[in-house]
């Protein structure tokens, strides 16, 4: 049994990877095929038109720009706010800290569809619907708790003696965080930013309700392609293209991915 275990593990992993790849292969294959009858090409033949359409179509192009914009704004809000909070949860004990942590988690697990209507009203009252800023802010609802959780794990991994040594040298907490903690948890910040990017990029419920006329992100631009005659090849090509930025980041971050999400003795 022990002898065969490594082989079994590899077989297990490879079959899971195959399962992961199957829909992705299907998607990629379809993206290179003509799926809607055109005068100059038969249905089912190979084509690169689907990809060139992405470059030409102004709606799709602006959708990519919008998606990148709101994700970046979201990261710029989430990370600076999450760092001090994560530090507090990791290093300090204050009245109600555990309850607050779970209150944050409760917001993460609140289904977005529950809050769509009031968030739409609230955001239209202050005039940030149909703008990338509105989506970025709404996505804080689930990204902020996750960011605090990931960063908390990274900060807890740093020995507490480091804090104490710098306090003895006369550093205040904010200065300590800025000068010593941030360089130490740089990979953690990158992982946090990546997960914020990932959960925000693919989200559709808030993205749909907050962008009725303008500022549509890529997921909504794909939605708009569905109609009476859907060019499924184009849909798949846009999906492939929408995964490219994430995949590049994913492979750049691959060695740090597993280092977040540590739950120590909080």
């Amino acid at each position: 049994m022990n002898r065969y275990l490594p082989v079994l593990k590899i077989i297990g992993l490879l079959s899971f990877v195959l399962f992961i790849f199957l829909p992705l292969i299907q998607m990629t294959l379809l993206s290179f095929v003509v799926t809607l009858a055109k005068p100059d090409a038969d249905v089912g033949s190979f084509t690169l038109d689907n990809y060139s359409t992405i470059m030409i179509d102004p709606n799709l192009r602006s959708a990519f720009v919008n998606s990148i914009a709101y994700v970046l704004i979201n990261i710029c809000i989430t990370v600076p706010v999450a760092i001090p909070a994560a530090y507090a949860f990791s290093r300090m004990s204050f009245l109600g800290d555990k309850h607050l942590f779970f209150a944050f988690i409760a917001f993460r697990i609140t289904p977005p569809v529950v809050l769509t209507l009031p968030i739409f009203q609230l955001f239209s009252a202050i005039g940030i619907v149909n703008s990338v800023f509105g989506i970025a802010l709404a996505h804080c609802l689930f990204n902020l708790p996750i960011a605090i959780w990931i960063l908390q794990g990274f900060i807890s991994a740093i020995p507490k003696e480091m804090d104490e040594a710098t306090f003895l040298d006369g550093y205040s907490r904010p200065r300590f965080i800025w000068k010593f903690l941030l360089p130490q948890i740089a990979p953690g910040i990158a992982v946090t930013a990546f997960f914020c990017f990932m959960f925000s990029w693919v989200e559709v419920v808030f993205a749909r309700i907050l962008t009725t006329t303008n500022g549509k992100p890529i997921s909504m631009a794909i939605n708009a392609l569905f109609g009476f005659q859907t060019d499924i090849g184009l849909v798949m090509a846009v999906t492939v293209a929408s995964m490219v930025p994430g995949a590049v980041l994913l492979f750049a971050m691959r060695n740090h991915l597993s280092r977040g999400f540590k739950i120590g003795q909080v």
């Binding site: 992961i20 949860f89 697990i109 529950v114 691959r254 597993s258 999400f261 003795q265």
Partner: protein, 288 residues
């Protein structure tokens, strides 16, 4: 030991303000609406608990509730053990660890509204890889007409989409085990099963609790992915809780949809509360 003082509140204040704005204020608004009959927002009539009574006494709500519960249970029963197993299968060599995790995480990058489309394309009997393979081996039935096959299609899709998260969570917990534990186990001649039971599994408890919480709630309130697969059919057999709510919101039934939202949030709260209790038990069990 942690510092015992309340300056921590200053550090969490910005996060609280943002979550208060995008979370708490909308929540209070929803609670407020749920007691009114609202035709247009300017004119509203107090109806008290009427909407709640209507939802609680409707068979449709409980049917959806039952379906969502069953779906979540199936999802957890498959994804949690599978996630642990795959995390254990991740190779030891650092080079392969990164590659394996990155590949496994790929489904998380697909926009949620495209996930049903991918699976519909895959299962298409004329053009899909899986659909054609099933036709080829003579196992072709129109799965959309079958309740159980539609369920399995949605479950397969959810397993595909979210098991990666469980894998990443579990793997990150496994990396916290010091190598000396494994060496000690090897000296004692422990079998792989014993190593798992006594060394790896205890390290996973905390992270598994979180994985179960996230997966339970997200699958319980599955919205974007489930509906397009078979439009809630056949015979409403895949109408889940969040789909019902989505329909009410689309119909602009402010009052009933708000009451429904509040009910769902109460479910969220009670689940989070149970999670807190379990977490507390785990912490006490480990320190004693």
């Amino acid at each position: 030991m942690k510092d015992q003082n309340n300056t921590g509140w200053v550090f969490v204040l910005p996060a609280m303000l943002i979550l208060g704005f995008v979370g708490l204020i909308p929540l209070i608004t929803v609670i407020n609406y749920s007691f009114f009959d609202i035709f247009i927002l300017e004119s509203r009539f107090w109806v008290g608990l009427e909407w709640y009574g209507g939802i609680i006494s409707s068979g449709r709500f409980w049917a959806s509730f039952g379906r969502s519960t069953l779906f979540s249970v199936l999802v957890l029963v498959i994804q949690i053990p599978l996630g642990i197993a795959i995390a254990l299968c991740i190779p030891r060599r650092k080079f392969w660890v990164g590659i394996a995790l990155a590949v496994v995480a790929l489904p998380l990058l697909v926009p949620w509204n495209m996930i049903p489309s991918l699976w519909l394309a895959l299962l298409n009997p004329d053009t899909g890889i899986l659909g054609r393979a099933m036709t080829y081996i003579g196992w072709s039935s129109d799965w959309k007409l079958s309740i159980s096959l539609t369920w399995w299609a949605i479950i397969a899709m959810d397993v595909w989409h979210w098991t990666s998260l469980v894998v990443i969570l579990c793997y990150s917990a496994l990396t916290t085990i010091p190598p000396s534990y494994y060496q000690a186990a090897a000296i004692d001649g422990a079998s792989p099963l014993q190593v798992f039971r006594h060394i790896q599994l205890p390290k996973l408890y905390h992270v598994l609790l979180m994985a179960i919480l996230l997966r339970f709630m997200d699958s319980f309130m599955i919205y974007t992915e489930a509906f397009p697969i078979n439009a809630g059919g056949p015979h409403n057999a895949t109408m889940f809780l969040a789909v019902d709510l989505g329909e009410e919101i689309k119909a602009f039934n402010y009052g009933p949809s708000a009451a429904r939202s509040v009910l769902y949030f109460l479910i969220v709260l009670s689940v989070a509360w149970m999670f807190t209790k379990a977490q507390g038990k785990l912490d006490n069990g480990q320190s004693s």
